[in-house]
């Protein structure tokens, strides 16, 4: 159950972004979960519930996620798309030297923030 560690990492990112824009609360954030990111969304939800209760910044936040399939690019035949039959080989020409271009990592896609009026237009980045 490493999802709590992952959620703590997400929280640190959210906090940094909220500070940068002078936000009071995070309203919503979206994740892109790679099919092979080794993250179980249900466990992520549980971890989120734990952290929500502890951190006012995200107390009312909504977490959304989408699953990104493992995506291959084949330098031999130019195939670009999801893997098939759970094999990291080109599904078109069979080449074993394909590049995995997506679906292995976990990304924070975007964040919706609540900014108090006095902080409008702030960017402390």
């Amino acid at each position: 159950m490493h999802e709590l560690s992952i959620l703590q990492a997400i929280y640190l990112s959210l906090r940094e972004i909220a500070r940068r824009y002078g936000a009071r609360r995070v309203l919503r954030f979206r994740l892109e979960v790679g099919e092979l990111a080794n993250v179980v969304p249900e466990l992520l939800e549980e971890a989120f519930a734990v952290l929500k209760a502890a951190e006012p910044l995200i107390a009312d936040a909504v977490m959304e996620y989408s699953i990104v399939p493992l995506t291959l690019r084949c330098p031999e035949c130019g195939y670009y798309g999801p893997w098939r039959e759970r094999t990291v080989r080109c599904p078109e020409c069979g080449s074993a030297t394909v590049d995995v271009v997506d679906g292995e990592d976990l990304y924070l896609r975007d964040v919706e923030l609540d900014i108090p009026e006095e902080n409008y237009g702030q960017d402390n980045g």
């Binding site: 490493h2 560690s5 992952i6 640190l12 936000a23 976990l106 923030l113 609540d114």
Partner: protein, 221 residues
Amino acid sequence: MGKITVDVKREVLRANDMLAEALRREWASRSMLVVNLLSSPGSGKTALLERTLEILKGRMRVAVLEGDIETDRDAERIRAKGVEAVQITTGGTCHLEANMVAKAWERISDRDWDILFIENVGNLICPAGFDLGEHLRVVLLSVPEGDDKPAKYPKAFRTARWMVLTKMDLLPFFDFSPERAVSEAKRLRPDIRVFRTSAKTGEGVEEWANALVEEYRKMYG
């Protein structure tokens, strides 16, 4: 109140990965080969290490960082071989993270080493997602576990450059096909290098230990 949406597209484990990258560079600048050992609990990481250390003794300066949830029994086993071992007790966390490794490394960084083994917490899921700054990730698969492990835990086998089959002496007693294990692993990582070992009989251990020395020489001449 004002609402804004910030587009970030940021990798979540960036902080871990940045620290891992810094460690990797530090270790390379000190001409070290750092090996991250991943496997299920009880697949024989410590036993393989014990045998490996016997072979490397006198040839390479070796140290071990031992990751466990509780106890320092594994570190004790390594120290019994006369090898420096630092225990990392994660206190419930099921994997090592770069910051834990950095802290343990500090305790022995005043001396020079050639090979540093990091024995990860026994678990094929969680450790696979955390870069520790290693130069070589090795996944172990023991005969009693079954040859379908790579298909069940794809990330571990996808991210490992080498795979070591362990407890090969038990092959007669289990329905385990090394060929199948290898072909399953190659589905995920076509260039994975495979070793077949038994810490009990010593089979293949020398080959694996020599490969580590070769890898070291390849990196640092």
